[in-house]
Symmetry: C2
Subunit: 102 residues, 2 copies
């Protein structure tokens, strides 16, 4: 956030992603998905880790999906979600441009 000033349009787009990240449940969902075996997890596993109801988890997953942070595909009975590659890196870059991949 030290480079040139942010344009209005870019600020709106970035704010949308940050809004998706601005909830403890969604952060933990994202974390659980990333930490899961093979980088993916089905909704049943995710729901088990929280005290909130199934529909609420589904709602949060939808928010993350619409923000471009995760994507899911149905495999038989279950739906598996995984992180969209590079999505979080792009957000990280926007915050601190002077960083490079390890």
């Amino acid at each position: 956030m030290t480079g040139a000033a942010l344009s209005e349009a870019r600020a709106v787009a970035l704010a949308r992603v940050f809004k998706a990240l601005a909830d403890p449940v969604r952060l933990r969902l994202l974390s659980m998905i990333g930490a899961a075996e093979g980088g993916q997890a089905c909704v049943c596993e995710l729901t088990a880790g929280f005290e909130v109801s199934g529909p609420t988890i589904s709602h949060h997953l939808k928010v993350l999906r619409e923000a471009g942070l995760i994507e899911g595909d149905r495999r038989g009975t279950w739906i598996y979600y995984r992180a969209v590659p590079g999505a979080l890196d792009a957000v990280s870059d926007a915050l601190v441009p002077n960083r490079v991949p390890a």
Copy 2:
């Protein structure tokens, strides 16, 4: 977000910061402060760059201040705001731990 699963407490703390970033006006304020001469800007300069009213800018600056992202000090008539060093880096680290300073 690929390491160990996030604790509930850490998720709540992180979400608080993301919530502060989840507004286009606040993102642009942060950007303008970072891009300003000497890394600091007075409220009058910031207000001039927006269409919203003065009190609204003041409100957003307060949110950023309470999130630990900026700090301000009065210097005569004007109050100057600047970014808290390392605050954004910490957020960036939380998102993508596998990055190192350039």
